[in-house]
Amino acid sequence: MEVLLAIVIGLLYAAGVYLLLRRSIVKLILGIMFFSHATNLLIFVAGGLHKGKPQFASDGLTAVSANPTDPLPQALILTAIVIGFGITAFFLALMYRFYQATGTEDLDELKEGENK
C-alpha cells in the first residue's frame, strides 16, 4: 500500500507542477490545490499507516506503541488543510481581480505589460 500511495503522491505532485507551469492563471490555482493535497497525503504517509477506528485517550491509552495511529501528523495536517483553504480562497479572489483588471488570464501578459 505504501508503494502505491507513494506513486499516487508522486502523480499528484507531477500534476501540480504541470499545472503550475501553464500560462493560464486558473490552472495555476488548480496546481496549487494539487500541491496542498499531495503534501497533506505525504505527511500522513510519513507518519505511518495503520488501519482501524480512531483512538481516544479515554480508552486507556498511554503510549503510541500501544496505539499505532499517531495523532501528531493528523494535527499537523488539520492545520495544513485549514491554511490551504485560506490560501485558495484568497487566490481565487486575487485571480478574479486580476482578470477584471487586465482582461486576460495569460500570465505572460504580465511581463509584456511591464515592458509597455
Partner: protein, 771 residues
C-alpha cells in the same frame, strides 16, 4: 602618539569644514587650509630627533583582536618620512589650488576631497596595523576616483576615473586577501609585531600566494606594468591633483607598502625576481612613452611611471645600497615632479594650453616659474648640483654592485636616464628658453600663490643637493634604518671621486644631449612608430574587457531574469529535484529492503478514483469539469483518511473541499474559458519536468516510510491528553490545548485571508486601469 591621533582628527574635521571656509573665507581660506597642513608638518618634524635616535612609537585601540583587527598607529623613520612628504606637499598644493581652482564653480567640493585624501594618505602611512592601512588605502582610492573625475561633465574624465578606481580597488581587494593570509600565518597584523616574524613568514608554504596577492595591491596602486595605464588617464584631474596624488604621494603608497614589508617578506628569490623584472620593464616603458608625448602633463605622467618602476627595481635588488637609493630617489622624485606638475598647471592656466609644440620661451613671461622648472628638470635629468644627481648616482652604484643581472639592469637604467636627460633638455630649451611662442593671447604673469609651491620645491632640490649630509642624518637615515636596521649611517655627497659610476654618468649625459639634438627627428619617427606599429593600447584593451564583461552580465541577467513566472518556477523545480535525486540515489538500496503492507481492494478503488480524477483535472478542456474532478481528488483523499482512522482530518478536508468548490463556482462564470496558450513542445517539456519532480516525491515518500521517528513527542500527547487537558480526542486536544498558540496563528492567517478576499472583491477598479 595621542597628539598624532588628534592631528588626524583635526585634519578630518578641517576637511569637512573646508567647503564652508572656501565659500565664506575668500582669498585667505586656501592659505588657512595650507596652514593646517603645514602645522602638521611642523608638528611631525618635531618627532624627527626622537625618531633619529632609534625610537619608534606605537598606539593601539583594540577593535577585534581575535581577528587581529585593531586601530593602530605606528611612527618610525619610514612612516615619519612619508608623513612629512604628505603634509609638506599637502600644504603647498593647497595654497597652489587656492588660485588654480578659482574659476571652478565646484571648488569648495575640490578642497573637501583633497583634504579628505590628505587625511587618508597620512593615516595610511601612519597605520600600525595592516587592516587600518587597508581601510585608508581604499579611502585614498575613492578620493582619487572623485578627484580624477572632478570635471565630471567630460566623458574622458569619467572614464579615466572609473578605470583608475577599478584597477586600484581590484588590486586592493587582492591585497586584503593577502593581509588576511598574512594574519593567519603570523598571528598578528600589527606592523611592529610583523617586523619580528619575517623568518616565519618567508619559510611558510603559503609565502608565495601571500606575496603575489600583496604585490597585486602595491603594483596596481603604484602603476606598475601591466597596470600602468590608469596613471596617464588620471591626468584628466586638475593639475594640483596630479601634483599631489599622482606623482608625490598616492602612487607612492604601493612603494611605501613594499618598503614597509621589505623586512617581513623581502629578500627571497621570488621577491627579488618579481620586483626587479616588473620594475625594470615599467621603468623602460615609462621612459620610452614619455619621450614621444606632446602634452606636458602626459610627459610628466609617463616619467612618473618610469620613476615608480625605478623605485620598485631598487627595492627588488634589495641590497643596502639599493635601499638607500630607493629612499633618496623617492624624495628626489617627489620634489621635482611635484614642482613640475604645479608648473604644468600654471602654464595651462596662464597660456591656455599644455601642447609642447605650441608653447615656448616662457622665461620671458614667467621668469620665476621658469627658473623653478629648469632647476627641477635638471634634478630630473640627474645633473649636479641637484639632489637628483645624488639619487641617480646611487642607483647606478646599486646596479654595479649586483653580480649577475647587474649589467643588464645597468643598460636598462642608462637607457632610461638618457631619455630623461633628453626630455629634460628638450623641455628646458623648447618650453622655457628660446623664442616666445603661445597659441592664444599673450600669457600673463602667474599669481604669487601659483609660484610659491614650485619655487619652494625647486629650492629644496637645490639646497638638498648642495648640503645632502644634513638631510641624510636627520631624515633619510632613520627611514632607511627602519627598512634595514643593519645600515649604520649613510654618507651623501655630490662628489664621489673618479670612478666607474661617474663614467657611466658622463656617458648618460652625453648620449642624452645627442638624443636631445635629434629630438625633432627621433620624435617624429617614434610618434609614427607608436601610432602605426604599436596599435595595442592597454587602456583600450581594458575598456574592451570591461565592456565585454558588462555585455555578458547583461545577457546572463536577461537570461536568468526572464520575467516570466513559469521560467522561474521551472528553474526551481529542476534544480531542486535534480539535487534531491542525486541524494536519493545513495539511499535507494535501503528503501528497497523495507517491507510494505498489502493493499485491500477498496483501497485500490480509492486510489484509482484519485488518479483518474487528477488526470481529468489536468487535461480536460472544460473549467467546470476540471474543478469538479479536483474536488473528487480531495474527497478521495478524505476517504483514505477515514480508512486509516484519521476521522477529524477527513471531516475537515471534506468541509474545506466543499467550500472551495462553492467559491470556485461563484468565480468561474466571471472567468474566460480555458485557452491553449502553449505549444506541444513546451507541454512535453513541462510534462517531463513534472514527472521528474513527481518521481522524486515518490522516492521521498518511500524514504520517509522507513525513517525511525522519535515516538516520545507523540507519546507525551497521548499520555497527557486526559490527565492534563481533560480531553480524550487526542488530535483535538493537541490543536486546541497543547498547541493552542499555533492554532491561534492559523486562525489569524484565515482572518487575514478573509480580509484580503473581501478587500479584493469590494475594491472598485480605477478608471483607466481596466481594459
Amino acid at each position: 602618539m595621542t597628539g598624532i591621533l588628534i592631528y588626524l582628527i583635526i585634519l578630518l574635521i578641517t576637511a569637512f569644514l573646508s567647503p564652508y571656509l572656501i565659500r565664506k573665507g575668500g582669498k585667505i581660506a586656501p592659505w588657512l587650509l595650507g596652514m593646517v597642513s603645514a602645522g602638521g608638518f611642523a608638528y611631525l618634524l618635531g618627532f624627527a630627533g626622537f625618531i633619529a635616535d632609534g625610537n619608534s612609537l606605537n598606539y593601539t585601540i583594540e577593535w577585534l583582536p581575535e581577528l587581529y583587527l585593531n586601530f593602530s598607529l605606528y611612527l618610525d623613520g619610514l612612516s615619519l618620512f612619508f608623513a612629512l612628504l604628505v603634509t609638506g606637499m599637502g600644504a603647498l598644493v593647497l595654497v597652489f589650488s587656492g588660485n588654480y581652482m578659482k574659476p571652478y564653480a565646484m571648488k569648495h567640493r575640490f578642497f573637501f576631497l583633497i583634504l579628505l585624501f590628505e587625511f587618508a594618505m597620512l593615516a595610511l602611512v601612519l597605520s600600525g596595523n595592516l587592516f587600518t592601512l587597508f581601510i585608508f588605502w581604499e579611502l585614498t582610492s575613492v578620493s582619487s576616483f572623485l578627484l580624477v573625475g572632478f570635471n565630471h561633465e567630460k566623458p574622458e574624465a569619467r572614464n579615466a576615473a572609473l578605470q583608475a578606481l577599478l584597477i586600484t580597488v581590484a588590486g586592493g581587494l587582492a591585497m586584503m586577501a593577502g593581509f588576511i593570509m598574512l594574519g593567519q600565518i603570523a598571528g598578528t597584523l600589527e606592523i611592529n609585531q610583523l617586523l619580528k616574524s619575517g623568518d616565519l613568514i618567508r619559510n611558510h608554504p603559503h609565502y608565495l600566494p601571500v606575496l603575489l596577492l600583496i604585490l597585486a595591491g602595491a603594483f596596481t596602486k603604484s602603476a606598475q606594468f601591466p597596470f600602468h595605464f590608469w596613471l596617464p588617464g588620471a591626468m584628466q584631474a586638475p593639475s594640483p591633483v596630479s601634483a599631489y596624488l599622482h606623482s608625490a604621494t598616492m602612487v607612492k603608497a604601493g612603494i611605501y607598502l613594499l618598503m614597509r614589508l621589505s623586512p617581513v617578506m623581502g629578500g627571497t628569490p621570488e621577491w627579488k625576481y618579481i620586483l626587479t623584472i616588473t620594475g625594470a620593464v615599467t621603468m623602460i616603458l615609462g621612459g620610452y612613452f614619455a619621450y614621444s608625448q606632446t602634452d606636458f602633463k602626459k610627459v610628466l605622467a609617463y616619467t612618473t611611471i618610469s620613476a615608480l618602476g625605478t623605485l620598485v627595481l631598487m627595492l627588488g635588488i634589495d641590497t643596502d645600497i639599493s635601499i638607500k637609493a630607493a629612499i633618496i630617489f623617492l624624495l628626489v622624485h617627489a620634489l621635482y615632479k611635484g614642482a613640475l606638475f604645479m608648473i604644468a598647471g600654471l602654464i595651462d592656466k596662464s597660456v591656455g594650453s599644455r601642447d609642447l609644440r605650441k608653447i615656448g620661451g616662457l622665461n620671458k613671461v614667467m621668469p620665476v616659474a621658469a627658473l623653478a622648472a629648469i632647476i627641477s628638470l635638471l634634478s630630473m635629468a640627474g645633473l649636479p648640483p641637484m639632489i637628483g644627481f645624488i639619487g641617480k648616482e646611487l642607483i647606478y652604484e646599486a646596479k654595479f654592485a649586483l653580480p649577475d643581472i647587474g649589467n643588464l639592469l645597468l643598460i636598462a637604467g642608462v637607457l632610461t636616464n638618457v631619455i630623461m636627460v633628453a626630455i629634460s633638455l628638450a623641455l628646458i630649451f623648447n618650453l622655457f628658453l628660446g623664442p616666445l611662442k603661445y597659441p592664444g593671447e599673450r600669457p600673463t604673469r602667474p599669481a604669487f600663490a601659483l609660484r610659491v609651491g614650485p619655487s619652494l620645491l625647486a629650492g629644496i632640490s637645490l639646497i638638498f643637493g648642495l648640503f645632502p649630509a644634513r638631510v641624510a642624518d636627520f631624515l633619510l637615515s632613520p627611514a632607511i634604518k627602519s627598512i634595514r636596521p643593519s645600515i649604520d649611517s649613510i654618507k651623501l655627497s655630490l662628489w664621489h671621486g673618479f670612478n666607474e659610476v661617474l663614467l657611466v654618468s658622463f656617458i648618460t649625459v652625453a648620449a642624452g644631449v645627442i638624443l636631445f639634438l635629434l629630438y625633432r627627428k627621433v620624435n617624429h619617427i617614434l610618434t609614427h612608430f607608436n601610432n602605426e606599429v604599436i596599435t595595442f593600447r592597454f587602456a583600450d584593451a581594458f575598456n574592451k574587457i570591461l565592456n565585454g564583461f558588462l555585455f555578458l552580465t547583461k545577457r546572463k541577467t536577461s537570461f536568468i531574469q526572464s520575467g516570466y513566472q513559469r521560467f522561474y518556477l521551472m528553474a526551481i523545480f529542476i534544480m531542486t529535484s535534480v539535487l534531491a535525486w542525486y541524494q536519493l540515489i545513495f539511499t535507494w538500496p535501503e528503501i528497497e529492503n523495507v517491507s510494505f503492507s498489502q493493499p485491500a481492494i477498496y483501497e485500490f478503488v480509492i486510489l484509482l478514483l484519485i488518479v483518474s480524477s487528477a488526470m481529468v483535472a489536468v487535461f480536460v478542456r472544460s473549467r467546470l469539469a476540471a474543478i469538479l474532478s479536483l474536488g473528487s481528488v480531495g474527497y478521495g483523499i478524505g476517504l483514505l483518511f477515514i480508512v486509516y482512522g484519521a476521522i477529524d482530518v477527513a471531516i475537515t478536508l471534506m468541509l474545506a473541499e466543499t467550500l472551495v468548490l462553492v467559491l470556485f463556482m461563484v468565480v468561474i462564470y466571471h472567468l474566460p474559458k480555458f485557452t491553449e496558450f502553449s505549444s506541444k513542445a513546451s507541454r512535453l517539456r513541462d510534462g517531463a519536468i513534472a514527472l521528474l519532480v513527481g518521481s522524486f516525491m515518490t522516492g521521498l515518500v518511500l524514504k520517509a516510510g522507513q525513517l525511525n521517528l522519535n515516538p516520545k513527542i507523540s507519546d507525551f500527547y497521548v499520555e497527557n491528553a486526559l490527565p492534563l487537558a481533560h480531553g480524550s480526542n487526542i488530535v483535538n486536544v493537541i490543536l486546541v490545548d497543547f498547541r493552542a498558540l499555533d492554532t491561534l496563528g492559523e486562525i489569524t492567517v484565515l482572518v487575514i485571508a478573509a480580509i484580503g478576499v473581501v478587500a479584493l472583491l469590494k475594491l472598485k477598479t480605477k478608471k483607466g486601469s481596466a481594459t
